[in-house]
Amino acid sequence: MRTALDPDGPFGRFAERLLMLELPDLPDDRRASTVAFVSHRAHQVPGPLRAGVTLLSVATGVAERVVEPDRVVAFLRSTELPLVGELARMVRSLAFAYVWETWPSTTPTGGAG
């Protein structure tokens, strides 16, 4: 069953855009692998939290239809609102841990090193 947390759902699209901004030189295949990893892990989050992440992801998907998607990502990257700000933090934490554990010589901008 497809969910909002799948790599091609609103959560995955948000994760991909965030990575394009924060690790712009990450090769496409590595970015796709990283997004798949982050989405997989998002499905493992405890149920009550997963419900919250799903809700935020759906809201992000809706907002992207109204506002420029990059502006939505920019807002979520910088907001310090409780809970809302945790979405970008969660994606960034999972993605960065995965990238540098998998490819330790990655450059600070995501280049293959």
């Binding site: 924060e22 892990r41 493992q44 989050v45 405890p46 149920g47 009550p48 939290l49 419900a51 310090e80 409780p82 809970l83 945790e86 933090r89 969660m90 960034r92 934490s93 999972l94 960065f96 841990a97 995965y98 990238v99 540098w100 554990e101 998998t102 330790p104 010589s105 990655t106 450059t107 600070p108 901008t109 090193g113």
Partner: protein, 476 residues
């Protein structure tokens, strides 16, 4: 129609509480069934502290959080042996003051300090608890040197390790539950059912007689028993009891040791990706303790993410970087609540203002230790953190620190079913029998009345042995 088992005693969970309990009961001749939600993974089959280990041996892949301001990330083992398979194996007895506080504050019977310390002796022998006989890791040595340069109290924390292939820290073999108490239990006839979750206990007028379980394929399993001992850890023991209709104070008093982290870069290679430092700084204990964390490149990137735009260039120097933590004794408390329709409970934790202040003070003092140890740059883990290169930068760190902007985490969780004979503050009696029941027991970190201010697993195992022996005596 699913699988069915019968036993004298059902033990839910196989970690630091469940495994010693199973060994004592099975060796006393009881028919014991241990049910473990996670898989059996032999030591050495997975790289320690790796993402693969988090996937296979941690609950929810390691993505568990107590919501609050700030939220506190925590981790729990979910495998045969529980947390003892995945943690750093550091072992510290509770202080005599802690034992007295528990005994007096919660009216715990038969809890003499001398008796408790004798149990610790026994645990230490069973687990080969010892200090590193040879060289320490560079990251551990740096922490020791920094504390020594400041004249601050510090020492080496023993671990449950043997060193059959050399004396150095990195040659140690963890003596976790799958190598110690679980094999003892199995040798004495205990059965261990892995990859199976206990969904709820059927309790009728205070007497539990059946458990409903789900196996790895989603199939139903039932177990009938005379007694049940819940050892699923400080989050999932209260959650299971609540799902079984038991409430009262259960789940209300969650206590943790919140920690904040930093990464420190030295002028030479210090990084050991699959081990942790064994030294701790105790100058400000029990309010504050400093130690070292796992530091593979992924975890270093994680430590830098809160201020990535400022600190990202450091990641290429990861061989010269190690991660350290400051842990506090918190005055805050949290709560575990089972919610209808969810497999996992909702966990919340509220830090007090004093806790938030101590976290900031701890991070600043830990940074001092790093500078005294020769760190070229220190990278504190909070949003808008500065890179600290000298004492002048410390003032900037203190000015900018906010606990709500920090990545706060913990690995020590306890006190959700506190034991004692005072029902105003305890949820189980002095030996772990849940109030309002005649055969539902808890025997894990949930019973500790509050956070001990040191690594809690020594306390957990000693309490488990004590209560298991009492249980056997009562059955006779």
């Amino acid at each position: 129609m699913g699988t069915h088992h019968d036993c004298d005693v059902l033990i839910v969970g196989s970690g630091a509480g469940g495994a010693p309990t199973a060994a004592v009961l099975a060796e006393a001749g009881l028919d014991v069934l241990v049910v473990e939600e996670g898989p059996w993974v032999d030591q050495g089959a997975v790289t320690p502290f790796s993402l693969e280990q988090m996937e296979r041996q941690y609950r929810n892949g390691g993505l568990t959080v107590a919501l609050g301001r700030p939220s506190i990330a925590y981790t729990e083992g979910r495998c045969a042996g529980g947390g003892t398979e995945v943690n750093s194996g550091l072992y510290r007895r509770p202080s005599e003051q802690t034992l007295e506080r528990w005994r007096e504050g919660w009216a715990i019977r038969d809890f003499a300090t001398g008796d408790f310390m004798a149990l610790c002796d026994e645990v230490e022998s069973a687990l080969s608890v010892q200090t590193v006989p040879g060289r320490h890791t560079p990251a551990s040595e740096r922490l020791r040197a920094g504390a020594a340069a400041l004249g601050w109290a510090h020492d080496e924390i023993p671990r449950w390790m043997t060193y059959p292939e050399g004396d150095d820290a990195e040659s140690g073999q963890r003596q976790s539950m799958t190598r110690t108490y679980l094999p003892r239990a199995i040798a004495a006839g205990a059965r261990v059912l892995t990859d199976t979750r206990v969904d709820r206990l059927i309790v009728d007028r205070g007497h539990a007689f059946r458990a409903e379980l789900t196996d790895a394929e989603g199939g139903p399993v039932t177990v009938d028993f005379a007694d049940v001992i819940v050892c699923a850890g400080a989050i999932h023991s209260p959650a299971l009891l609540q799902r079984s209709g038991l409430r009262g104070l259960i789940g209300r008093g969650l206590a943790v040791h919140p920690t904040v982290k930093l990464a420190a870069r030295f002028g030479e290679a210090v990084n050991v990706s699959d081990d942790v430092p064994v030294h701790q700084v105790k100058e400000f204990a029990p309010e504050l303790s400093f130690g070292g964390s796992a530091s593979h490149p992924g975890l270093i990137a994680l430590a830098l993410t809160d201020a990535w735009s400022t600190m990202r260039d450091a990641i290429t120097a990861w061989p010269e970087i190690a991660v350290y933590y400051a842990a506090i004794t918190s005055q805050g408390r949290g709560r575990v609540q089972a919610l209808p329709g969810f497999r996992d409970p909702l966990v919340t934790y509220r830090l007090t203002r004093r806790d938030r202040d101590v976290l900031g003070r701890g991070l600043a003092r830990l940074t001092q230790v790093m500078l005294a140890a020769g760190a070229r740059e220190v990278y504190p883990s909070f949003r808008h953190a500065p890179i600290v290169r000298n004492r002048a930068d410390l003032a900037t760190l203190s000015d900018r620190f906010s606990a709500t902007a920090a990545s706060v985490m913990t690995v020590h969780l306890c006190s959700t079913v506190p034991m004692g004979d005072d029902p105003e503050v305890a949820a189980a009696d002095s030996h772990g029998r849940v109030f309002g029941t005649d055969n539902v027991h808890v025997n894990d970190a949930s019973l500790l009345p509050d956070a001990p201010g040191v690594n809690p697993q020594a306390s957990v195992m000693a309490v488990a042995l004590r209560n298991a022996r009492r249980f056997v005596e009562a059955r006779r």
